[in-house]
């Protein structure tokens, strides 16, 4: 059923401002009159097409840092899956709403001027309508108005990457479902690299040896009368309970990559002394303040825009709720580093901690234990 015919059906609910946007956006796709900007646009049908294989965070898909050749059409597939996840070591469950089965959803990496062609597939076993709003895209509520799919449907959306930087994407169906879906895990990120790659504060090109995607997620898990976290049999069943918890704005969990401890222990991030590592940090709903304990933010694009010169040598940086930012650091000492949200209550009590295990030679010049802990010498 098309959006337009649905609006003529008497059984539908009243729809608000967003519905009007849906109609105008749908009408835009039906229009045969090219706009002024379309006349200048490149012939997309002649561009090379590449399929980007999605990988689960914290990893990024294979990509070139400096673009080879001209713009291309990058095809990506996002399978929406409603899926029960365990989010801490006490067995707390959430029926997560996911892109490709992970929280956060996979990162998409393209270059400025490329076209991203997204197939958004709502798997038949799901129970809810979903869509996707790309903060990196232009028009139609970030594509949200053109991608609403019921279980068993798919839509294809193409958008041009015109702003270099890191951006979130998230589900935004309508009304109360927007925050509900976002705080049940339905968000991910896009990195639009400048065609010439990243530049430091003086405009000099820099490259990274590794990159990691850290998606911070706030969860609001309802409790029963005894204070235990409730479990539910199907996705969406927690709706009224969850909305009550969400309304208090106090998350029960703030985690990296879907669960407390998802990036520690055997799943800790890895690096070597001398390697420059790019960390992309996304928070689709709530402010965060990343900090690398024992290191620094050498270059920080905390607003996410790669057109801006990065700030340098930061101790802690800021990720605005509803955005992604990037930081690069060249590790200079081996050991275990903690990458945290430096609201330490959230880091330690709610789960927002990752570890980076770094191999290499210790540098006594940078730090040395002059005296091991021991008794305070008596005055002689």
């Amino acid at each position: 059923m098309s959006t337009l015919s649905m609006l003529n059906t008497p059984l539908l609910s009243r729809r608000g401002l967003l519905a009007a946007a849906t109609v105008s956006a749908a009408a835009a796709t039906l229009s045969t009159i090219p706009s002024a900007s379309a006349e200048k646009a490149v012939d997309i049908s002649k561009l090379p097409r590449v399929k980007q294989a999605m990988v689960a965070p914290p990893f990024l898909p294979e990509h070139d840092q400096v673009a080879k050749g001209g713009p291309k059409v990058v095809e990506v597939l996002l399978n929406i899956e409603e899926k029960k996840l365990v989010i801490d070591d006490e067995g707390t469950e959430v029926w997560a709403l996911t892109y490709n089965g992970s929280v956060p959803g996979p990162m998409i990496v393209v270059h400025e001027g490329d076209y991203v062609e997204v197939t958004l597939r709502n798997l038949p076993a799901n129970l809810m309508e979903h869509n996707v709003d790309f903060h990196s895209a232009t028009g139609a509520l970030g594509g949200g108005a053109l991608t609403k799919v019921l279980p068993g449907e798919q839509a294809v959306l193409r958008w041009k990457a015109i702003k270099p930087g890191v951006f979130i994407y998230h589900c935004a169906p309508e009304g109360i479902m927007i925050p509900y879906h976002v705080v049940h895990g339905m968000n991910g990120a896009v990195m639009v690299l400048p065609r010439g790659g990243l530049k430091d504060e003086s405009g000099k090109p820099i490259s990274y040896d590794r990159a990691y995607f850290i998606g911070e997620q706030d969860f609001y898990i309802p409790r029963d009368e005894q204070g235990n976290y409730r479990k539910y049999e199907v996705a969406g069943e927690n709706m009224s309970d969850a909305l009550e918890v969400m309304r208090k704005l106090t998350p029960t969990h703030v985690v990296f990559n879907g669960a407390a401890g998802a990036l520690t222990g055997e799943s800790a991030l890895k690096a070597k002394v001398g390697e420059r590592v790019l960390f992309i940090h996304a928070q689709a709903n709530r402010d965060s303040r990343p900090h690398l304990i024992g290191g620094h933010g050498d270059h920080v694009w905390d607003t996410g825009s790669f057109n801006d010169a990065p700030a340098t040598n930061l101790e802690t940086w800021f990720i605005r709720g509803g955005s992604a930012g990037a930081m690069s650091y060249t590790f200079q000492q081996p050991g275990v580093y903690a990458y945290v949200n430096h609201n330490l209550i959230e880091a330690v009590m709610l789960g927002a901690t990752a570890h980076v295990v770094v191999e290499g030679e210790w540098n006594d010049d940078l730090m040395m234990q002059v005296m091991k802990p021991g008794p305070i010498p008596t005055q002689g």
Binding site: L11, S13, M128, E129, L150, G152, E174, E233, V234
Partner: protein, 161 residues
């Protein structure tokens, strides 16, 4: 509307929209829409007792748990549909393998022989409403009787012990 009537109406509305009053049993009910339009001219055949492949259902009701204790049973009904209004009617049944009388011309369950115990109507998308009923042991059908919805799979059975 007089002030008194208005207060009463507000109180009634609050009763219908406020989820989860404490009851002896709580059954969470979710209403689901999937891809595929409901064609009034050729109704689906996915009603109770029709032994149909329910995985083909375009609409559905899930109740959990599907059993409740006798006494006050509260149904917290959440409409997960994004655009379609639903209703839920509760009727006692004796046999869940029995096919319900159906009015083909209206594409609705023929309710003449049924005795509804309660219902929640006009449930807007993404809203949760509650209904508390005093139920004795037996089987109860929960279904939506908006044209086409029942045969599209919008029913489930709850057992009270």
């Amino acid at each position: 509307m007089s002030l008194k009537a208005r207060i009463l109406a507000t109180a009634l509305a609050a009763l219908l929209t406020a989820p989860a009053a404490l009851a002896d049993s709580l059954v969470r009910v979710t209403l689901i829409d999937k891809a595929g339009a409901i064609d009034p001219d050729s109704p689906h055949k996915l009603g109770m007792g029709m032994k149909a492949d329910m995985s083909m259902a375009k609409m559905g009701i899930k109740a959990s748990p599907s059993t409740a204790k006798r006494g006050a049973v509260t149904f917290d009904v959440t409409n997960l549909a994004s655009a379609i209004v639903h209703e839920v009617i509760v009727v006692p049944i004796t046999d869940e393998n029995k096919v319900l009388p159906f009015d083909e011309s209206r594409n609705k369950v023929d309710t003449d022989s049924l005795q509804p115990l309660g219902s929640v109507n006009e449930i807007e998308p993404n809203k949760t409403v509650s209904l508390t009923l005093n139920l004795g042991p037996g089987k109860y059908l929960l279904y939506c009787n908006i044209a086409g919805h029942y045969m599209a799979g919008m029913w489930t059975v709850v057992t009270v012990e």
